[in-house]
Symmetry: C2
Subunit: 214 residues, 2 copies
């Protein structure tokens, strides 16, 4: 990662509103609260979800909640920052030894789809944050796009892909991944053509690699 991406990650951290605990016990309680909020918001949605519900699921007194967060908006924000860290590190690890960018895209797409399959609550929370906390939602995607653009830049230098307007390409590719996740994981169900998920991924990478031109 170059300096600019470091700055984005730094500014993402600065968005956090959590009162960071100093003791190990405090860290465990914070983790319990975040796990509980993931289920509470994921199942009920942000507006129906409540601090009472989060405290109950975490097995803590409601007063304890306020040692860490001022309001439920702050918990949502912390969850979005957590998803950003988690997905970025999962993606980085999954493609670390892959030289070819298009192969990295394939593995990255599969990793992303697995993540939202395993964490449907978190993915819903990330999407809903758009209407609760537009600032953190935008920061999530801006930071993601910047990392993506840098990765494409490296691939251009290595001549693994062709040159282009990498910023808009990054957004386009992220959009492809998002809608594929929405259609085949979040909505799931049978595909009209009964393709497996691997076939879907192959078809997307083929589109990304070769385009539509005959």
């Amino acid at each position: 990662m170059n300096q600019s991406s470091g700055l984005v990650v730094e500014s993402l951290k600065e968005l956090s509103q959590v009162l960071v605990p100093k003791t190990q016990r405090g860290k465990l309680t914070l983790e319990k609260i975040l796990n509980a909020a993931e289920v509470e918001f994921g199942e009920k949605g942000f507006h129906e979800g409540s601090i009472t519900g989060i405290a109950y699921r975490a097995g803590i007194a409601q007063g304890t909640f306020y040692l860490y967060f001022k309001c439920k908006e702050d918990v949502l924000r912390e969850l979005v920052l957590y998803i950003n860290r988690t997905i970025r590190s999962l993606l980085s690890e999954s493609v670390i030894n892959i030289e070819d960018r298009l192969e990295a895209e394939r593995v990255g797409l599969r990793t992303f789809l697995n993540y939202i399959q395993e964490h449907p609550h978190l993915y819903r929370i990330l999407q809903e944050s758009q209407f609760v906390d537009p600032e953190v939602h935008k920061a999530y995607y801006m930071s993601f796009a910047q990392g993506y653009q840098e990765a494409l830049g490296v691939a251009v230098e290595k001549e693994s892909i062709r040159k282009g307007q990498l910023e808009s390409w990054s957004w386009a590719i992220m959009g492809m991944m998002h809608f594929i996740g929405q259609r085949y994981i979040v909505w799931g169900g049978t595909h009209s053509s009964e393709d497996t998920l691997d076939e879907v991924v192959d078809s997307i990478i083929d589109l990304l690699k070769n385009g539509l031109k005959k």
Copy 2:
């Protein structure tokens, strides 16, 4: 449009919960309510928006509202169905005389971006419907994807584009369009590379046409 797409459009209509007015005056009142709801939900969001606010903006008594809708959820649903009809018909009209599919994609993307630039409230409402009325949100995109897939199918037959798994390609392309709209219209602001919107559109169509392969 072939028979299957007709069925989707039919089932979309069936989702409507509005009590359809029989008189011309009733139709005008309904239109006032929908226009008012567009502003109310668009400015305040669905949860903060209220029937009182809609009635006030529409210049009608609150009792009149209930002649057309049972609740604000039903208004949101009607707006999503309205957006679906409007965008689909705008897109169809804009590409009607264009033989080449990739040129149609360019014009379609530009039409779509213009639409969300001119109707930011409606686009926000469409996105927020995901958390208020998942059924109509999903139906919106399923019907859109089906129309898209059919259009790609026609292009394959005309040998305007190559063959592929058209269902997943449709979703991927819709995702590209959505994220480009989110980044360059909804979030707007300066682009890091100071590209104009036309340059962004060109770059996306180039990616879609030729892919990333060197």
